[in-house]
Amino acid sequence: MEAVTGILNTTIAVVFTWVGYKTARILWKYTPYSYPNARIKAMEAKLLTEQKFNELAESRTLQNFVVNLEDTDYKDYLADVSSYTVEEVERALERALAGTYGLMFRILPKRSRGFFGLLLEGWDVRNIANVVKAKLANEPASDYVVELGTMLPKVKAMAEAKTLEEILVILEGTPYEEVYQKLLLGEIDVTRFETELYRMHYGKLLSYALSRKDDERIILEEFVRLSIDRVNILTALRAKKAGLSAEETKPMLIPGGTVKLDPLLHVDSFDMALAELDSTKYGQVIRDVREEIEKDLSVLEKALNDHIIERISELERFYPLSIATPLSYVLRKEREIRKLRAIAKLIENGVEPERIKELAGEVA
């Protein structure tokens, strides 16, 4: 009898340990995404429809454009717009995007919100590169600052700086100080400076993604590598169009992508470069817009952006309670804001509504 009792007790202990471990793992994995992902799904329902974009395209004036957005989530951000200039509307839209990032940062679980912090740093990189390029070209740098990022006050101070040395003082203590110093000393040119900033940024994103586990790692790694591929493909094709050699182009590429660009860099023409990409996983994306790419590379940029969103949405369907949902939402929101900015600019330029509808679809 005692032996039977012993076997029974041991079995119960094993079963309970296993069930407890599995249950704890499930709860740890899914519970933190329950609130944010459901909320984001509800927010997705409020993303602007094609019909709304058509209404906006018919606004004719920026004042009407702002009024047309009053029944959307942009209402609060557009409340301060008074002079109805395109710059003011753009600033309001940028604040809306910053608000989206802020919300993600607040509602997402601690273990994944860091990635959105790094995505925000991407806007710092873009701002710093734009300000430095504007300063070197003697253009008003503040026009190129996007109201987004983790170090916006510093970026604004950089835009106001009188000299290039002053910018170095502002960047002191940031990760960008060293590379800017190299630019000032003439060790690298501005193109290399920009590449180094983006290399640093994508390097951080990739190491964050690789430090995650399970589905979080799968999703983030896929997103980062797709983003690196997008940048590298566009850089390589632009270089090919500009007639740069493989040796000149290679230092401009960012490590960590999935596409081997070496054969592409060594072909003679732009057409052959596109043909090289045909056998990669981006072959279908490129084939769909092949004719337009030859005239305008921004078409490919849009196609690759859409491909990334599509891929992350696929992952979202596969992992409903994961970081794919917020990531997909932020990418869609960015695309929506790009489209709104384009419409606002076209209205300001007095373009006809029918033409705005065509162009807005092409740019965003």
């Binding site: 029974l8 609130y35 459901a38 984001i40 927010m43 329902a45």
Partner: protein
């Protein structure tokens, strides 16, 4: 172990495990419900219905607890298996098994809460998916029903009410 330990453990595990699982399930779905209502109050009704689905496992646990206590005589009379005879130990072990079955299958409330949570998000995005959301979440219920049926058979045939 004494028969009373088996019987008490069986009853406690049936109601305790299933109840705790229901609490987790409702918690996960409730957090999702709060999320969608924060964006739009119109989502309240649909979210509430989906949130309530993982509660049923705790009801099965409670039914089993009563049946175990009833068949062991703890409710409505004296404890029937006070003597540690082989027959009494076997019967009390059957009651323990019945409770454990309902408790473990009641853990389906946790994945049900996760499914309901995803369903609440889907319904907030597209209200037409409400019925499908209910069906998906209800699928997890079958395991708990199997567990309850199994426990009833064990109690009725092994011990008798």
């Amino acid at each position: 172990m004494d028969p009373i330990v088996y019987v008490s453990l069986g009853a406690a595990l049936a109601a305790g495990l299933a109840g705790a699982a229901s609490a987790f399930g409702v918690g996960v779905a409730g957090a999702a419900a709060a999320g969608v209502v924060a964006e739009d109050e119109k989502n309240f009704k649909n979210a509430l219905i989906l949130e309530g689905l993982p509660m049923t496992q705790s009801i099965y646990g409670l039914i089993t607890l009563f049946l175990i206590l009833l068949s062991a005589g703890i409710i409505g009379g004296g404890f029937k298996f006070a003597q540690a005879t082989t027959d009494n130990i076997v019967k009390s072990a059957i009651l323990f098994g019945a409770g454990l079955t309902v408790g473990l299958t009641g853990l389906s409330a946790i994945p049900q809460g996760i499914i309901a949570s995803a369903g609440i998000g889907a319904v907030a995005k597209n209200p037409k998916t409400f019925t499908q959301g209910i069906i998906f979440a209800a699928m997890a219920e079958t395991m708990a029903i199997f567990g309850l049926v199994g426990a009833l058979i064990m109690i009725a045939t092994g011990v008798g009410l």
